[in-house]
Symmetry: C2
């Protein structure tokens, strides 16, 4: 039996759920949850682009799974399973796969899903990981990016900017003795299970940076947004980095918090529900009529110049 | 708006079906076909590993989609949609994406499915494509790799070896003035829609090579198999290559024909049904009790030495 199958047997078979048919077949067979709609997304991570080649494989696996879980969270969906393709240089040590599988196994248990299938190939390039996540939601209840209206409030879960600052720490540009920022960058916390359906008018997960992701919502809504700089929730570690890092907090990516459009009068009750689930929710601004721009206002209500609006691959 | 979103808008949005929500959202939302089970698989193609970097992008897209459709075919499932991740060097010309999308569009129309979602990223390595296919099947009717029994006959669709010889042509090792072999290698024909359920006891698509894929079935069945060399269906172009290429035909991959275990007495009627759908079916051997080995027998019934048993990535 060729080593490719050994690899699957050694590291991935234990992750497979019943629908994966023990990874013996050409495909998985899954009975969809009765009366539910399916929610599906796919994200890729490339060594040297989305993570540092020396990052521990266990954390890389967790991040890969969690960024996809965050897409489900943004739609208000629950996880069901995932398919995974791994392209790795042929000299990749077995210990890397062992660590990678351990990370997946840990998070499968935490978030209640299992491996459905996938593919393993060699590549002359960097490790390239692609994960397709499958979730489910009550019919018609998926939360969309489209739907915000002028007058809605802008709310966010958790704290903003830790991901961008954690990357800066990883690159040696910032010091964080607590290790908190790097942990937030490496192992984001998908905000699954919040009672968003029927309350928020729009949601997105903050993966490309708060300003860019809010811009997506504005473009689809045909309105603008104003953010109060002083209201943006920062972690103690981000605050300790100093105000010169604030633009990075708003423009950098990898927060995997949820950015919500909440109709006036609904925010306080939603925040209370989320707090009861351990997730802080903070109002940071509002959607406004006019051009589809995002403005950041200082304490005096004056627009601030922020020169980093997320980033793009092409 | 950053160029990554331009790229999606220019080339991929037109491929998106209703469930893809115009590719505006974090995930697709799909109502599963009522009373059906879902069938899901994922396959990756890496430039320089699974195809030649200079292969036209349109054909690369078709092959990527078709190898995944072949996995559905092997399970007896029908296609529904797919998610796609593309990692490409940042200097990849726009024309490559245009050709790639054109190939997808052509095959979407031919096979009746649409794009559900995905991700586009840059990579310092070769173009790396990963596709997750979603299909459906009547409950309990998915055809499995496991299930062959000693006494069953081995049947195959179409002709065997064209994929391996087409690769040899691409690499300049073999001449084929007809262009048939290279076409078969570059644009395989997934054998969807055959009436396999309730008839065959096991099926697999021939992607790693006939001998290796038959070996998978034998291992799961706990039996062996004997192939009659003279019965293996070869195309005129493969036959013209000469007998010295026969081992490559059996050992090479990329045929994407179906290899079936058919209980005695059922083959003729199945072959008739498949022929009516335009798909030739040929009996090439049988499953036998004993060790889980695949033997190739010559015209006198004597075992032949075949030294190439497919290939593996690791």
């Amino acid at each position: 039996m060729p080593p490719e199958f050994d690899l699957i047997g050694r590291h991935f078979r234990a992750l497979a759920g019943p629908a994966a048919l023990n990874l013996e077949d050409d495909a998985a067979v899954l009975a969809p949850p009765r009366g539910r709609e399916l929610v599906m997304a796919a994200d890729t991570m490339v060594a040297g682009v989305h993570y540092l080649p020396d990052d521990p494989a266990e954390g890389v696996a967790q991040k890969l799974l969690r960024v996809n879980l965050s897409d489900l969270a943004a739609m208000g969906a629950e996880p069901l399973g995932y398919l995974l393709t791994v392209s790795a240089p042929s000299q990749t040590p077995d210990s890397w796969f062992a660590g990678f599988a351990a990370g997946l196994g840990r998070d499968q248990a935490e978030f209640g899903l299992s491996l459905l299938g996938g593919d393993t190939t060699s590549t002359p390039g960097p490790v390239t990981l692609s994960l397709t996540i499958i979730g489910h939601v009550a019919p018609g209840q998926a939360v969309r990016r489209r739907g915000a209206r002028a007058g809605d409030e802008v709310w966010v879960t958790g704290t903003i900017g830790d991901g961008a600052l954690g990357l800066a720490v990883s690159l040696g540009r910032l010091v964080d003795p607590s290790g908190y920022l790097r942990q937030r960058y490496c192992v984001p916390n998908p905000r699954l299970g919040l009672p968003l359906a029927g309350v928020v008018s729009s949601a997105i997960d903050v993966s490309d940076g708060l300003l860019q992701d809010l811009g997506h919502i504005c473009r689809l809504a045909g309105c603008g947004a104003e953010i109060e700089a002083a209201s943006v929730p920062l972690s103690p570690a981000a605050r300790a980095a100093g105000p010169e890092w604030f633009a990075d907090c708003l423009g950098g990516g990898d927060d995997y918090e949820l950015l919500l459009a909440v109709p006036p009068g609904r925010g306080a009750a939603l925040a209370e529900s989320c707090a009861a689930l351990g997730v802080p929710l903070t109002r940071i601004g509002r959607f406004v009529t006019g051009d589809q721009r995002v403005r950041v206002l200082d304490a005096g209500g004056q627009p601030m110049a922020i020169d980093r609006h997320g980033w793009s691959h092409f």
